[in-house]
Amino acid sequence: MLTPAFLGPLATHAFLQYALLGGVLVAIPCGLVGSYVVIRRISYIAGAISHSVLAGLGLVQYLRVVHGVTWLSPLAGAAVAALLSASVIGWVSLKLRQREDTVIGAVWAVGMAAGIVLISLTPGYAADLMSYLFGNILMLTPRDLILIGALGVAVVTVVTLFHKQLLAVCFDDEFASLRGVRTSRYYFLLLGLTALTVVVLVSVVGIIMVIALLTLPAATANHLTRRLSHMMIVAALLCAGLTAAGLALSYGPDLPAGAVTILLTGALYFATALFKKR
């Protein structure tokens, strides 16, 4: 019933094809990095990073409109903000240990507050706030797709090179350090990968729901698999399938695609969690 309502326009509208391709492309970093985030239990760090992205988006928008710095891309602002908050959280959790949760909360809220102030200082761009917060996969441009694809290639390369160390650090970082692995270096690498993945996922589901798309397909895959490599593949396939399904189901009734995607993702996660029951 919904399928023809989506497939017909898909054949003719380029923006739908870009959206579908975007969902498939983000699924690769989403499945790989999301799996590390779930097993290393840093979902809340990912949440803080994603919300702090608003500061970067707001700053770029402000500079473009008020100061005419048009060459700056919002995605670059988002990436800088995400990497900066990842570094702050990583540094605090490694050096100070205590009160990590407080710092995560602070980065989360301060990032959003800075973004909201900057957006309110920028004339005529209030509408963008909604697409930052809730995502708009239908607005993806070919340039975005190239950036998302490049990021996917970078993530796959890093994971292929350093999977052994990342796995060991996630499983038992004390033992890894005794085997000569510089564990804090790999922790920062993991936070950096998380930050960049968050940035591309923002374009699909928006700041508020990124944490769900990053972690729930991986957590669902964790219910279904027994090895990290399998978990990553299943998580990526789920992420691609769920984004496509969210797009298809939301198009006909004109619902927000990001929110529908997250509802499907959440439903699948809770269903497998109940089915698995330990």
């Binding site: 799996s35 097993i39 239990r41 292929t160 090179l161 350093f162 999977h163 052994k164 160390q165 796995l167 060991a168 996630c170 499983f171 038992d172 004390e174 033992f175 890894a176 350090s177 005794l178 085997r179 000569g180 692995v181 964790n222 698999t225 027994r226 090895r227 990290l228 399998h230 978990m231």
Partner: protein, 254 residues
């Protein structure tokens, strides 16, 4: 005390404390190659601290630790460390072989996937601990004893000369524990073993020396353990069970 030639592990006038609380003071000990040592003492006495000092994970406030005559950080690759498995995530998506392969870090390639010889070494280590047929099982699905053996295999995969075990028999059934000690006996033929015990683990006949951690740290050959030593350590009268009448090996002194 320091008459042991070329000790595998030695503490010299070592003090350790944190937050102003002194945990260990004036510790002198020297463990010869091939020894089988049990570290005993009441909860919170600093047994695990002793292991972490030997690994260089903790730094002494005064004095010195040497492992194979070097600083612990420089000798780490020659130590096989077997932590307690209770702190590991039970849902973690790894097979027994994946876990053992982590012991090859530092020996295998730095970049990219494991090579065939690393997998062979990991499988050999699993076979040595009696889990040769469990390589592909989910780590979480293994029993407590199998998990403990997997962690020993992980440390063996790193080709160590000294094995440090932290409460390896905690939570194991008596009959599982017995098989476990047989494995350690086998390994002791080529490795020096230091094991922290949650109880008076030296009741096993394998142990040749005992490090008693209390107000003072004292090393005893097993034959010298008397009711008085135990009473001094635990502050209560405890009965000593002797499993045999074997005298300890030579070369130990207090």
């Amino acid at each position: 005390m320091t008459s042991v030639p070329n000790p595998v592990l030695a503490f010299h006038d070592l003090d350790f404390g944190y937050d102003g609380r002194r945990v260990l003071s004036g510790v002198n000990l020297a463990i010869p190659a091939g020894d089988f040592v049990s570290v005993v003492g009441p909860n919170g006495s600093g047994k695990t601290t002793l292991l972490k000092l030997a690994l260089g994970l903790l730094k002494p406030t005064a004095g010195e630790v040497t492992v194979f005559g070097e600083k612990p950080e420089r000798a780490r690759h020659r130590i096989g460390y077997v932590p307690q498995h209770a702190h590991l995530d039970p849902l973690f998506p790894v097979s027994a072989l994946d876990v053992v392969l982590m012991g090859r870090l530092g020996l295998g390639p730095r970049l990219g996937p494991w090579r065939g010889r690393d997998r062979d070494a990991a499988r050999a280590a699993l076979a040595e601990v009696g889990l040769g047929d469990q390589a592909d099982r989910h780590f979480a699905a293994l029993s407590g004893g199998q998990k403990q053996r997997t962690l020993i295999a992980r440390s063996l995969a790193g080709e160590p000369e000294l094995l440090l075990l932290d409460e390896p028999t905690a939570g194991l059934d008596a009959h599982v524990e017995e098989g476990f000690f047989r494995l350690l006996e086998e390994l002791n033929r080529r490795l020096t073993i230091i094991m922290v015990s949650h109880d008076l683990g030296f009741v096993t006949a394998l142990v040749r020396s005992v490090i008693c951690v209390g107000q003072k740290v004292v090393v005893h050959p097993t034959s010298a353990i008397t009711g008085q030593v135990i009473a001094d350590l635990y502050g209560a009268d405890m009965r000593l069970i002797r499993h045999d009448h074997r005298c300890s090996e030579e070369g130990h002194e207090c």
